[in-house]
Symmetry: none
Subunit: 194 residues, 4 copies
DNA sequence: TATGAATGAGCTTTCATTCAT
DNA sequence: TATGAATGAAAGCTCATTCAT
């Protein structure tokens, strides 16, 4: 009975609920998140949702973990330093294009992190990892000569993080804004010729 | 008597309710905004709130207008071009320090603008004005020689806007992050020597 | 200060409020009766309404008295017996045409009389007087030969009362229904040739 | 299991709520109809009421349908024409005795029909059917000789409808009034010897 | 494992009434 | 005498959660 299939059934259901919640949050924000809608989007009854997640908070925690893991996947790149940075931005651009919900959800999580310790812990940790990765690349690029020696790598990394978050998680107007923001960011890091 | 004080009494109450709502949104987000809490924070009964604002939405609209006007006040600066930009950043820094709720509220409004046309209109308009002001300064600074000639003033302005929004409206970790982000932004615009 | 003018001022205000309430009840029923609307229809503030009537119930009581008095005015007619009955019906017809609100309000009061002892007392009393008047005329007409001798004057009077109330206080479809109901009622009482 | 019982469970609950609302309206009028009271009279929570009826209006619509259907059941009688009319009146008398709430509710609906299009449509339609049935019987009775040939069958039917509504849906004083009104009505239609 | 049914707690909004002026 | 402002009490409705099956 407690076969691996059984537990993977559970995992599948949970995952389907998390994805449904993910979509609902992207569309309606936490403000408009309704367990009934999530369940119905996942094709099950509300009671079933509570069978897999004891509470709405628990579901949100799972969405949080899902989003964070999804985002961290952008951080794993290989190649020379400059290449890694370029790939990182390319990965972000692609993610914004292919999975805009992720950034909507991350925006919601960012604001929620100010109020909810559970969210804060995981969210801040992810942002910290992200910043550290960027900082590391900038320093390394300075050492191996592929990038200018950074005067203040911490500040530079913070600027990158802030700019990407501002541009991708908040609606800034026309989509072109996002494109040009990324471009300018790359220019300011000497990742682009023009 | 229908003295000017009479009408300002109403304005005062409305303003006090808006400020209370402002604080509540900053603290709990739209998600946790409760008319009863707003009223109680303003020291009145819920029914009194509805005496001044026909609905919760109307109250939110007033908060929106208040926040936008508050933010736009940072845009009015004088002096040489470089000075104006520096003053603009100084003003933002001061505002973040003295009135952090404004940025919390603006973050909430930013996310809400994706769903609520009323919010979108006013919010996007404010962001647009902001970007255009920055763009104008960059171009002007390039012409009068106080700043480098911008290769792509639109993109540069977008980056500034995105970075400031990301840094000020989202919790990025320690407060130091915000300081260094601003510093680096100024450096990247050649507003700082070091 | 306590001059007759003062008290007639009061009486005027009260009367204007009662007439406003009268109209509101006719239009929206007791279900939709709002003191604010009454006051506003009378051109005064709600608080003023409460200055003249201690409570909504008191206002309703005044409306009740007004309506009953208004209706009783139909009962005072002179002439021969058959003429008196004919005039009574003519008076009702005219009243229905010129002041339909009265019947709307009386319908509301009729239903309310089932629940509200204050209304019941006055309303039933009025209906009783009315029935007795009709009964008296039928008996008298039988005696002086102007009408057939009634077999059961009580029942006949009850039928008249019920029919008039049903026809005038309840919406029965096209207005023609009311006309033909009155006509048939007169026929059944031998007040009409055809 | 999706057995027929399952759906009748829902129907039963709905019916029990409708009956509770029915009673509440009879007792307190639409004016005093409270969903909480209805729910509590049906032995359930208010939220349960809203589980079965999306809104108070929907509940009222169901009460309307119930009352109309209940009333129309009086119209289905068989036998000779005079007999049918007599049976119709007997049925009404019985209904008034056994289910007085129906007439209280119908009175409320009659008044509401002046304001609420939904009520008006169904209510007027029922009254029209009723009048047409009576008219038809009067005409048929005239033809087959069991009743006098009606001079004005429309007016006669209207009088019957008005009288029955006035007598049964409005409180006219002592219950005896209703009895004698019915008796007199039958006499006027030659359905009674004396 | 899954669900229809049920509910407690709470939300926004309304309204008759009061009170200071 | 009249009002703008304020409020307590409730109303209709919603929602996360529970429970019997």
């Amino acid at each position: 009975m407690a076969s691996p299939e059984a537990s993977s059934r559970t995992a599948e259901r949970q995952s389907s609920l998390v994805r449904a919640a993910y979509g609902e949050i992207a569309e309606h924000g936490f403000e408009g998140l309704r367990t009934r809608e999530v369940a119905s989007a996942a094709g099950v009854n509300v009671a079933t949702l509570h069978y897999y997640f004891p509470s709405k908070e628990a579901l949100i925690a799972a969405v949080l973990a899902h989003a964070m893991q999804r985002f961290r996947s952008t951080l794993n790149v290989s190649g020379s330093v400059a290449e890694q940075l370029r790939k990182h931005f390319d990965g972000l651009r692609r993610l914004v294009r292919d999975e805009p919900e992720l950034f909507a959800v991350m925006g919601e999580l960012a604001l929620r992190s100010a109020r909810d310790p559970t969210v804060r812990d995981l969210f801040q940790q992810t942002v910290d990892v992200w910043r550290r990765v960027i900082r590391g690349l900038l320093v390394k690029g300075g050492k191996d000569g592929s990038l200018p020696v950074p005067r203040d790598p911490d500040a530079q990394a913070s600027l990158v993080v802030a700019a990407v978050m501002g541009a991708s998680m908040m609606p800034l107007g026309r989509p072109a804004r996002l494109t040009e923001t990324f471009r300018e960011l790359e220019r300011s890091l000497n990742l682009r010729a023009n």
